[in-house]
Amino acid sequence: MSFESSCDETSVAIIEDGNKILSNIVATQINSHKRFGGVVPEVASRHHIEEITICIGDAMKKANVTYDDLTAVAVTYGPGLVGALLIGVTAAKAVAWAHNLPLIPVNHIAGHISAAAFVKPIEYPALALVVSGGHTELVLMPEEGEFKIIGETRDDAAGEAYDKVGRVLGLSYPAGPVVDEMAADGKDTFNFPRAMEKDDNYDFSFSGLKSAFINTVHHADQVNETLDKNDLAASFQSAVVDVLVDKTLKALKEFPVKQLILAGGVAANKGLRNALENSIKQTELVKAPIKLCGDNAAMIGAAAYVLNKKHKYAGTELNADPSLEFDWLEDAEK
């Protein structure tokens, strides 16, 4: 049984052998946070405690299991919003202790990457491009259960930039999927900057692109010029995707791996999926299933399967770690 509550989704899943979903209940608060134009942490925590036992009950019912059928309890303990994480962690600890089951703490990003295990077995070494509303990073996995960051965003996450740009276009939160759709109908005519594309590292930066976008739109407003919104979306998306693909290709050259995994909420972006498909030729590309790109507990169950093999358990003192992150691969930080 796995729990995920790091942001605005309360989710409980029952996963068998790390790759079979018996149930994956996701209670999403998007409509609540839409009212505020983004996730309000205290509101998120309040929703999580409203939903948590309902999700447990539904997950067990749908999977048709009893507590005797369970091997372990897994939970996201970071990174994320601390108050939100704490509901999943507290509930998971209670269930694990009540039924004398081992408790497996899972890194949220490891969870996102592990969503690929529902497509096919992950082969190592592997490289993962994780792109979401809170994260943009390249993660090297030399072997099973080992995660090393080789590059990450220096400012905004890619998904965050999508949401902010969407707001300027008058779209409601979360804007990412709509920008993706609009981009499909537009052309890259604005030629926004590709930040850090030429730098000798695997880091990203999206705040300059975001500012360039906002300046373009505001300037047009001032001179009463109407810009094609689809072209704006397409230009923004091209800039994001170009940098992501470019850095990924560069990383694949230095670190030859068996698989490249695309995961995280923005991995559902069609522009990004297509661009990677077209440019990754030498390495097998494994994309997280669209349904499992957003936050969900199924992916946490997949990650926990690996940790369970290694007996990576926690006691009842487990706490949330909002700024949890993988270690950097040394030398990569040139």
């Binding site: 929703h47 209670a94 706490n319």
Partner: protein
């Protein structure tokens, strides 16, 4: 009846296991506020020492707020999940009422206070009737001056027992209510899970554990701003479930 009682509403953490009128174990700490980390180990350790299994408990009683938002969520989420997963009875008690349990003088008025900063407080007024606190003015989040005016208006000249964070408000209280109060001190100014457990045995358990949530007594700022602008949409559900 074996009862597990817990309160992490503010800085103190208190846990007890009580069987009818007998205290099996209790622990209270005040030196830290790391409830997320320490609550479950305290419970686990207490069950081990009492030679009890989680399933041996009949009822869980929790102080469900008001208090620190994170604090009340930790105790409430723990109690709610344990009751749900073990299929046991769940009772929620106001965290202010839990403090009021420390006053045992029959017919006395009790005013438990949690400091909510900027001269605000979470407070309520109780009267001890047949040895138990009965709510006279509902728990609320209030400006403390306005609160004292209300007390003076309705209960003038009655002696009041103060418990909780009263010391920061003592000047105001003296100014408005005179010297007609007395202060609970030392152990009687801490929430006691043993008393919570005993009191919780007398209440009816919640009908639906899924619906059990903390008593925040205060909307988030985002939510109250939004409600002011959208009075017609209050009480809608915004959470969507997919499976």
């Amino acid at each position: 009846m074996k009862v597990l009682a817990l309160d992490t509403s503010n800085r103190p953490l208190t846990v007890a296991i009580v069987e009818d009128n007998q205290i099996l174990a209790t622990e209270t700490t005040t030196v830290h506020q790391k409830h997320a980390e320490f609550l479950m180990p305290v419970i686990e350790d207490m069950f081990n020492k009492c030679d009890l299994k989680p399933n041996d408990i009949d009822r869980i009683v929790v102080s469900s707020g008001p208090g620190s938002y994170t604090g009340i969520r930790i105790a409430t989420a723990t109690a709610k999940t344990l009751a749900f997963t073990l299929n046991k009875e769940l009772v929620g008690v106001s965290s202010l009422c839990t403090l009021a349990l420390n006053c045992e003088q029959e017919n006395m008025l009790v005013m438990p206070i949690f400091n909510a900063r900027n001269n605000n407080a979470f407070t309520g007024l109780y009267r001890i009737v047949d040895g138990q606190p009965v709510s006279m003015i509902e728990d609320c989040h209030t400006d403390f001056d306005q609160w004292l005016d209300r007390i003076k208006h309705n209960f003038d000249n009655e002696q009041i027992c103060l418990v909780g964070d009263y010391s920061v408000f003592l000047d105001e209280i003296t100014e408005k209510l005179g010297k007609n109060f007395y202060e609970l001190k030392f152990d009687n100014n801490l929430p006691k899970a043993v008393k919570l457990a005993k009191y919780g045995q007398t209440l009816s358990p919640v009908d639906n554990i899924d619906n059990f949530v903390p008593r925040y007594l205060r909307l988030t700022k985002a939510e109250s701003d939004w409600q002011k602008l959208h009075p017609e949409e209050v009480n809608q559900s915004y959470v969507q479930k997919n499976d």
